[in-house]
């Protein structure tokens, strides 16, 4: 599964994207957030419990209880500020 980071989260994590293989018990976007935090200090900071960020599953905005079964791409990003 591909995980992508945008804006300040990309800089804090230190990568724009990565391929990950979370274990079977990581079933939702929220589970994935918790699991990713353990990968590095940058991950832990960017994906911290108090941080304001959203997620997309296969390029559509999703909530943290969205299931990961069959998903190819998950993205994390701060609130949109564009346009």
């Amino acid at each position: 599964m591909k995980v992508r980071y945008f804006a300040w989260m990309k800089r804090t994590v230190g990568l724009p994207e990565e391929e990950v293989m979370p274990p079977a018990e990581v079933r939702t976007v929220g589970d994935l957030v918790v699991w990713l935090r353990a990968r590095s200090a940058g991950h832990a900071e960017a994906l911290a419990a108090g941080a304001a960020f959203g997620a997309a599953v296969d390029q559509k905005t999703a909530s943290f209880d969205a299931p990961l079964a069959g998903v190819r791409e998950v993205a994390f990003f701060p609130p949109f500020t564009g346009g």
Binding site: R4, F6, A7, W8, A52, A56, Q59, K60, T61, A75, F77, P78, P79, F80, T81, G82, G83
Partner: protein, 156 residues
């Protein structure tokens, strides 16, 4: 019925001509052109000028989001033509950022749909602004006014 995300500038006159050409049902074309304006931030006692910014986006998701927003406008109003062109990358004060154009038989529908699209673009499309100031770069934080502007369309 066209959505484009691009780094290059666009030609407003040519875009609008292409949008309306051959369609004689359009009585009013409402258009919005967003420009980078010169801004200042206040950080404590320091007032800093913002000279430029970089718009980051999420390729793939951006186009889907814009197409959804455009389809929603088409459902809500009787529109003959819609166009969204959005730039990404580094932009300087005075540069064009976005073009939204809506053609309808009636001007009221054209204006409403155009404003709807612009309000939604500001809050529902995956763009992030990185501003350049003399003392460094800074990610822009979400703006409550934009959320409020988008929210008024949800009541309809």
């Amino acid at each position: 019925m066209t959505v484009r995300v691009q780094q290059a500038d666009f030609d407003v006159g040519a875009e609008l001509d292409g949008l309306t050409r051959g369609n004689r049902k359009i009585g009013g074309l409402a258009v919005f052109v967003g420009l980078v304006r010169e801004m200042h931030t206040r950080d404590g006692l320091h007032r800093e000028r913002i000279d430029a910014m970089t718009l980051e986006h999420y390729p793939g998701m951006t186009e889907k989001a814009l197409e959804e927003i455009e389809a929603e406008a088409q459902r809500r109003w009787p529109l003959e033509a819609t166009l969204i062109v959005h730039r990404h990358g580094r932009l300087e004060a005075g540069d064009r950022i976005v073009l939204v154009a809506v053609g309808s038989p009636h001007r009221e529908a054209a204006f409403e749909a155009c404003e709807f699209l612009v309000d939604w673009l500001k809050t529902k499309a995956p763009f992030w602004k990185l501003e350049e100031t003399p003392s460094g770069e800074k990610w822009v934080e979400a703006h409550e006014g934009d959320d409020a502007a988008a929210a008024r369309w949800a009541k309809k």
